[in-house]
């Protein structure tokens, strides 16, 4: 009896220990400080099969028109390539287009690369490019990238290897957007024949990437096999097959990585950083990223619509402790919603960097200044509602931190957890935002470009301008920035606008989070930066 009894106690102890480590109160991130790297050591040899986990679950579709989240991008960008290629430093290089040129504010010329073939061996044509881009404008298709094409007037083949895009309204963000899924090319013939099933397990895909879609057993794994006729011989895939497995349970995923059953993952669980850093059979890399955590004001009236209240909340939240507790140290303060990585590859980088440096730094909490702002604003009500997505632990933690900070400055915050559909709906349906002041959210840029976010947040009537923000100077500068073909002029106008809307804290940006990549020691070569989200990264993975 005694033996059984003792093992019973051991079991109970085990339970308590597990429960503790799951609650994530320990801010330690394991050994040493975090070094950021853009890439991992280049692969030198081939490998057979690489097993890769998808912590956000199985993608529902790999059709580029329906690709817009972590899982679908992680897999799909290796299959269907874009006109431009995103590099680890978030600069762009030619992809399926040998050039994409902004000829004037309302015309973009695409030169389609010669010698590219689809997996069935047929050549890539200008007609396929026209078809692929136009698909995003078809309401029947319901493309996730429709917003990228909002200002487009026409897309037409203007030569055997040339496509011209004209705009109703200038939009210099369109060219960098072509480095992401919105610029992905599919074969017209195959897509038309597959219809609504295109990109699903049943319908299949036909693209030009270094990998072709192999076996997709729904719920279990998606296998990619190397395409031997790939046009870019220097970037031919080093792994013969790549198997993607959905593993949404973070503790199971961590065990599978530690046991070597899974070779790698992007977005390794934040709670497992310490365990993965200690692992002897692999390496956890941290890379620069465009991902961020923020609180967005979603109400046109009430306390959150007052910039002073938003500034007060921003000042009340200590960003360093946010990074320690929510991001487990794997992040850095961020002054505004457009992260510096988005302009790293720009020729006008210096202008952007100087503009960013000039923004006020609110990393350290300043409760006295925050209380002063609340007293000045003297809001008619001091109770606010923050919405989060039910089931998302880090967003709940974010809201809880905001709640504690708000209490310090005389504001009362209620946290409202919404079901996924309701939460997603809030981003476009004003009726779902009723009764909510702020939303805790994460976001990322999948393409370079400082103008990716700003117009949607600060221009009148735009999608994310929920507080009805209006400032003539900001509007004039943003409009000038999106129509300036000279990158330096565009940057100068953007920076001038940012200097005004930045401190207004339309989004209370809490921190940028690092990209977390884990690789088993049998493989190397994957980019460590967040650029994987839009590039055929798997082709680089091979033996060390």
């Amino acid at each position: 009896m005694r033996r059984v009894h003792r093992s019973g106690i051991a079991l109970l102890l085990g339970l308590t220990l597990t429960a503790c480590s799951g609650s994530g109160e320990a801010p330690s991130t394991g050994a040493g400080a975090i070094d950021l790297v853009e890439t991992t050591p280049a692969a030198t040899g081939e490998v057979g099969t690489v097993t890769w986990a998808l912590p956000s679950g199985e993608p529902s579709s790999l059709d580029p028109a329906h690709t817009g989240d972590y899982s679908a991008n992680t897999v799909g960008t290796n299959l269907c390539e874009s006109l431009l290629r995103l590099e680890p430093d978030f600069s762009t290089a030619p992809g399926l287009a040998s050039a994409v040129t902004q000829k004037n504010p309302t015309t973009v010329i695409i030169t389609v690369r010669d010698g590219v073939t689809f997996w069935d061996g047929s050549p890539l044509t200008a007609a396929d490019v026209v078809y692929s881009l136009k698909r995003n404008m078809d309401p029947e298709v319901g493309s996730y990238a429709a917003h990228v094409y909002a200002n487009v007037a026409t897309i037409a083949a203007t030569g055997p290897q040339q496509v011209t895009v004209t705009f109703r309204k200038p939009d210099v963000q369109f060219v960098p957007d072509m480095a992401g899924v919105p610029g992905a090319i599919v074969q017209e013939r195959f897509a038309v024949r597959a219809g609504a099933a295109f990109g699903t397990a049943a319908g299949g895909l036909m693209c030009t990437g270094p990998y072709r879609l192999g076996d997709w057993s729904s719920g279990q794994k998606i296998t990619l096999t190397r395409y031997d006729g790939y046009w870019d011989t220097a970037r031919r895939a080093k792994a013969a097959t790549f198997a993607f497995v959905p593993l949404t349970d973070s503790s199971t995923l961590t065990s599978a990585l530690l046991a070597g059953e899974v070779d790698g993952v992007y977005g390794a669980p934040g709670g497992s950083i310490a365990a993965l850093r200690r692992s002897e059979n692999g390496t956890l890399y941290f890379g620069p990223s465009t991902e961020s955590f923020s609180l967005g004001a979603v109400a046109a009236d009430g306390p959150a619509a007052d910039p002073r209240i938003r500034q007060a909340l921003d000042l009340a939240i200590d960003k360093s402790s946010f990074i320690t507790s929510v991001l487990k140290g794997a992040g850095a303060p961020l002054k505004t919603f457009t992260p510096p990585l988005s302009w790293h590859g720009s020729p006008a980088r210096d202008v952007y960097d100087a503009g960013y440096a000039a923004l006020p730094d609110t990393t350290v909490a300043d409760l006295a200044a925050a209380r002063k702002l609340v007293a000045e604003a003297a809001p008619s009500r001091t109770d606010l509602v923050i919405a989060t997505a039910a089931g998302d632990q880090s967003l709940l933690q974010t809201a809880t931190i905001a709640q504690a900070a708000a209490r310090e400055i005389g504001l009362t915050v209620t946290i409202k957890q919404l079901q996924p559909a309701e939460y997603a709906g809030m981003f476009y349906d004003p009726s779902l935002r009723a009764g909510i002041d702020l939303i805790a959210t994460t976001g990322y840029l999948e393409v370079p470009g400082a103008l990716y976010y700003a117009p949607g947040f600060v221009l009148k009537g735009e999608t994310f301008n929920w507080t009805n923000y209006q400032n003539p100077e900001v509007t004039a500068n943003i409009e000038a920035a999106v129509s300036a073909t000279d990158p330096v002029v565009s940057a100068q106008r953007f920076v001038a606008a940012q200097a005004i809307y930045g401190p207004a804290k339309l989004q209370i940006t809490l921190a940028g989070s690092y990209n977390r990549l884990y690789l088993n020691k049998r493989i190397t070569g994957a980019p460590a930066s967040f650029s994987y989200i839009s590039s055929p990264w798997a082709a680089l993975v091979g033996a060390p």
Binding site: V4, G8, A19, G57, V141, Q220, E261, D429, T463
Partner: protein, 313 residues
Amino acid sequence: MGFLGRKLAALVATVAVASLVIFGALYLAPGDPAALLAGGHQPNPAALAEIRARYHLDDPFLAQYWHWLSGLLSGYPGDSMVLKEPVTALIAARMPTTALLVAYASLLILILGVSSGIVAGVAGRRVDGALTVTTTVLMAAPAFVAAILLIWVFATKLAWFPVYGSGTGFAGRIHHLTLPALALSGGYLAYVSRITRTEVRAELGSDHVAAARARGLPRGHVLGRHVLRNAAPPILAVSGVTVAGLFAGTAVAEQAFGVSGLGSLLVQSAARQDMVVVQALALLLVAVFVLVNTLVDVLNAVLDPRLLKERPA
């Protein structure tokens, strides 16, 4: 109406009521599935309207319910809104894995649960106490906690079993499903063990057993003919309910071990607001639960024919 007729009518009525409740609950659930389906930054109103029409989302409740029910009755519950595949195909692909997992867990529950209960019932205080401690721990541990522990000990430390996945071939599947079956059966197993112990104890203390012992019948004979036979119906009833409940429990175990079965499909579909799949699966789980319970009732009636007689009004 005979016994079987009554049972069948109750089964059909339960499933019918469940279908209305399931459909109604999902109809009332907050959020617009069309918005999730349209996805992206700013769903196009035309695309939204198209999705709403395709899935009859704007019809009145009863019309939607009837549309769904008639589809189910004709054997075509529709296509997944997200995966665009027929729900029947999605379920058929995952059914064998879940059935195997449930069968495996059921065997563990019945064999280990009943036998440990009998042992606890007839053995001395030391063994009984040991089993009581073990079952207490098992009952207290939720499946997801058990999963974390099992993975840590048997997959990461000892490497006897794989961490995740469904496996291929019969041997591979059994290898992959052992830890999930253990995690799934733990609490139920302890429960059945406890019930068995109590029933066996009660029978051991009863007059007819005392009489049989007094007549000098061998110990094994008394246990088999007098104790276990009388203790069987309640044990069977409890086992039936627990086995039926396993289907619902698979959601947690399959999710934790990355097993591609009906439970993980339910969790995944609920997260994606894939109503068509959630509705069909929820109803299927209710139907299986009711069906297994009915089978247990019938089995009990066969063991104890008195139940077959109609109760006096």
